[in-house]
Amino acid sequence: MNRYLKLVVMELHRFWKIYAALMLLTFLSQFGGLFLTLRSYLTEVKGRMYAESLYDYAAYAEKHGPESFYTMTSRMEPWFTAPVLLCIAALLFYVFMIWYRDWFGKNPFVYRMLMLPTSRMNLYWAKLTAIMVFVLGLVGWQLVLFPLHMALYRSMLPAELAVTQSVESFIHHHSVFQTLIPQTFTEFVLYYGAGLMTVTVLFTSVLIERSYRFKGIAGGLVYAAASLFAMLAPQLVNDGIGFELYPWETFLLLVVIGAVLLALSLGISRYLLIRKITV
């Protein structure tokens, strides 16, 4: 357990600079972009008020309506959601690089990692834990940023032009955030559990490639594709052969398939790491 934790801390530390940069970028793009958008909106409002002889903000709101936080963020797109998508892409890339970086360069760290007097699965668990921590950390970061953004919105807009929205309501109605931060904690566990399963499938693909090289590239791709097919199977059953599954049946089937894929990926990875991996 101790060695596993040390490896987790090491994996977290190795990526911290890029991670911090992603968090900073998200903050700057969202907060900074919101600030600029609010400022430009106020200029626009003042211009219209002058042109239409509206004597105060209340009169303006009466005629043109207030502007909610939601619509304000829509105005500033893609600067609100683009950093989130960039973070997702970066982490997805790192799912592969967290392994491959150990092999690259003139000092392949993988030798040392594989020679540590600890179960090789601890290397696997540490990398898996690190990825999940990175993902959840960004989710938490976004949850901290939302109230900050809303506070900026409330502080810059006159009360007559602002609409009170809760963070929850905003997330629930936003096409991207409603998926990343689902409605209930049950769904959160299910979605990120599925994410964890996906990472284990991708890790297995990497290990297949690292164990068998050229044949391994094909093997890794086949494994990933087969896993995807397995997860899509319930839907294909519905659409293809017309045997309609009821929603709860589809859900149950997906949970079972997901659990099987997780166990299979872990089992195959363990076998490869201990018996087949080659440097």
Partner: protein
């Protein structure tokens, strides 16, 4: 390892747990206001099963809600497993199908969109299946009948070939059983390239359950047909319990005048045509209620008022009564016809004022009530009318408890009811 790294990692882990944990705890503990439907007039029991599909617009984003006598259920507050397991809700508002799916999930699997009969002994499903031969554009059709014996739980299926016809559009609009004979009402139409209905007819087929084939057929003759400049539109009159047995079929027949619809470029008007310079809508020339009796083959009919441009019109059936309604938002005209002989049983006018409201909105039919959505002083209300005589049986209003008057007013003005339905 440097202590600093351990601390930083621990901090990150704590941050994750706190940020996500606090968010979900806070989300679970905050609740949207609980509106409910309270009785103003009539029997409180009338509100049972009534569901107002509404929109709570409190923050420019809005929430979908369902308001009943016992409270409000918001879509965004529903637990996940509740949503996944809601088979009835998944079937949408096709009420009897939802109920049947809950009761007989195996039988109902995968074949929801068909015509059903749910009587005391059987659940019977009928569909028209195409059979493709040499000419893929002209398949031949047959009935596919599935039957579930409610007592034994066993099901059986068979197919019965439909005779060839010139009609390119066919659909089953009603299904009844009399002893060992199934009667299937099939609507045929010839629809032209321009969307015009060139011909329409209703044919009743007798399907023998023992012989598993069609043993007879009869056309429903209501004494009028399509022709030059005339289009016939036929609809089965909607009823809540459309799967329950009945000894008659109620049809709404409209004869439309489609002459002089050609616009300057020679194509038919009536459908959205970018090149058309003047698109004339078809005009209703005749409007009838036609009752076909399955037992005798008799057809009874009566004229219905023609539709008006600024009023919404509906025709409903609740067992022995067919109700015609027309509303312009301020008054509802009501005519009740007997399903046995299509004779007018009563006529009534309900004004918004009489109903204590500012406006009359949507109408909906329940098992034995006509429902009206009303608005009074910005508050959504519901009225339930007895279809037998047009009398007001119940009036209810959306309310909220535990808040002061100003807050109540503010909250109620944020609610908009989009439809009324009944969950029996």
């Amino acid at each position: 390892m440097k202590r600093k790294r351990y601390w930083a990692s621990g901090l990150l882990a704590a941050f994750i747990i706190l940020s996500i944990g606090i968010y979900y705890i806070q989300a679970a503990s905050s609740h949207l206001p609980q509106f409910r439907l309270a009785a103003l007039e009539g029997n409180e029991a009338e509100a049972e099963g009534l569901v107002l599909s509404a929109y709570y617009n409190h923050d420019a984003l809005g929430e979908q809600a369902e308001i009943t006598a016992s409270g409000t259920r918001y879509e965004s507050e529903r637990p996940f497993l509740d949503r996944v397991g809601d088979l009835e809700g998944w079937m949408g508002s096709v009420q009897p199908i939802g109920r049947l799916t809950l009761q007989y999930p195996r039988f109902m699997r995968g074949r929801a969109f068909a015509e059903y009969l749910d009587d005391e002994a059987w659940v019977i499903r009928a569909e028209l299946e195409p059979e493709y031969g040499v000419d893929l554009l002209k398949p031949s059709y047959r009935f596919r009948i599935d039957m579930l014996d409610k007592k034994t739980g066993k099901s059986r299926s068979f197919r019965a070939d439909l005779p060839e016809s010139k009609f390119d559009s066919k659909s089953i609009i009603d299904l009844q059983r009399f002893g060992t004979t199934i009667k299937a009402a099939v609507q045929y139409e010839v629809i032209g390239m321009d969307g015009r209905r060139r011909e329409s007819e209703i044919r009743i087929y007798d399907i023998d359950l023992n012989e598993e084939k069609i043993t007879g057929s009869a056309k429903v003759d209501f004494g009028t047909s399509a022709g030059d400049g005339r289009e016939i539109r036929i609809f089965r009159v909607f009823e809540y319990h459309w799967t329950k047995p009945s000894d008659s079929l109620a049809l709404e027949v409209s004869v439309m005048d489609v002459s002089d619809l050609e616009s300057k470029d020679g194509t038919s008007g009536g459908i959205a045509n970018q090149n058309a310079t003047a698109v004339r809508q078809p005009v209703m020339a005749e409007h009838r209620l036609v009752i076909y009796h399955y037992g005798t083959g008799e057809v009874k009919q009566t004229s219905l008022p023609l539709s008006l441009p600024d009023a919404s019109q509906n025709l409903f059936r609740t067992g022995p009564v067919v109700l015609w309604t027309r509303s312009d938002g301020q008054a509802l005209d009501l005519k009740g016809y007997r399903a046995s002989d299509a004779a007018l049983a009563f006529e009534k006018k309900l004004t918004a004022r009489v109903l204590g409201a500012e406006s009359i909105g949507q109408t909906a039919i329940g098992p034995d009530r006509l429902y009206l959505a009303l608005t009074a002083s910005g508050t959504p209300e519901v009225a339930a009318v007895d279809p037998a005589d047009g009398h007001l049986a119940f009036r209810g209003a959306v309310t909220i408890d535990g808040v002061d008057e100003n807050e109540k007013k503010r909250l109620l003005s944020s609610i908009g009811v989009s439809s009324i339905s009944v969950r029996s």
